[in-house]
């Protein structure tokens, strides 16, 4: 029989990986696919650091008492949003290219889309918080 705390840690690791995947892999990948531009994470070390932050927050959120744990759930969402905003250049991408030998600089602003994505991720965060509160009362 695996102790309860190991399950909690595993749940935390998985939830951390899910937050990492949503904010730093899936959303940038979908946006990159739409605008046909590879949105790059800075380096492998930083990628691992980001993953570590989310996993640590996930484990803390799952193992601590619900009222304290939900603070870390909210932190995961806030930090995820912050990373997303940083990666996407506050919703403004600039790229330089050559069109028929003429150097061209293209800038694209998609702040509205970014705000909608972040707004909806906050709604999911609120659902998580309410869920933890409901679980703590059971």
């Amino acid at each position: 029989m695996i102790p309860k705390v190991v399950w909690k840690v595993l749940r935390g690791v998985i939830s951390g990986l899910i937050y990492y995947a949503i904010f730093l892999v899936i959303i940038p990948w979908i946006l990159g696919l739409v605008i046909r531009y590879q949105i790059e994470l800075i380096s492998l070390e930083e990628t691992l650091y980001y993953a570590g932050v989310f996993i640590a927050l996930g484990v803390l959120s799952a193992t601590l008492k619900p009222f304290i744990g939900l603070v870390f759930t909210v932190l995961s969402i806030l930090i995820g949003s912050l990373f997303l905003i940083t990666i996407l250049g506050v919703g403004s991408l600039q790229l330089a290219m050559n069109i028929s030998g003429v150097p061209v600089e293209v800038s694209l602003e998609f702040k509205e889309l970014l705000m909608v994505i972040i707004g909806i991720s906050f709604v999911f965060a609120i659902i998580d918080v309410f869920e933890k509160l409901a679980m703590s009362e059971e």
Binding site: V34, P103, V106, L113, A134
Partner: protein, 125 residues
């Protein structure tokens, strides 16, 4: 835990419903331009007419092939700017008054009034 799942699904459905109309225009336009680089072209026609004071009357054609409407279009030359409220698929003809050496500096527009795109020409990379 299941108590909140219907709410989660409802938010997920609303997420898709909100994001699709926001993402589709930009996707259609970008794919249209990548598939056909001549999809959005601004060019001057060599039928310029000298009107005095070192100024030429030059016809400008804007060709656009995508079905996503563009709004707030600004075509910036050195000495003049064309402002167009909205264009859809088709050819558009305008007349500008240019001086010798003037060239297209910048093209700015909004994709369906949402996303601002600015293209600067001749900027060293």
């Amino acid at each position: 835990m299941e108590l909140f799942n219907p709410f989660r699904y409802a938010v997920l459905v609303s997420l898709v419903a909100v994001l699709l109309p926001l993402v589709l225009p930009i996707g259609i336009l970008v794919y249209g331009i990548v598939d056909n680089p001549e999809c959005l072209v601004v060019k001057t026609i060599a039928k310029e007419e000298y009107i005095g004071n070192s100024t030429y009357r030059v016809p400008v054609v804007i060709k656009y092939c995508s079905m996503v409407p563009l709004t707030n279009i600004k075509v910036v030359f050195n000495s003049t700017t064309i402002e167009i409220p909205r264009i859809t698929r088709g050819d558009y003809r305008y007349v500008v008054y240019l001086k010798p050496g003037d060239r297209l500096l910048e093209l700015e527009f909004r994709i369906m009034g949402l996303y601002r795109v600015r293209i600067k020409f001749g900027v060293s990379t």
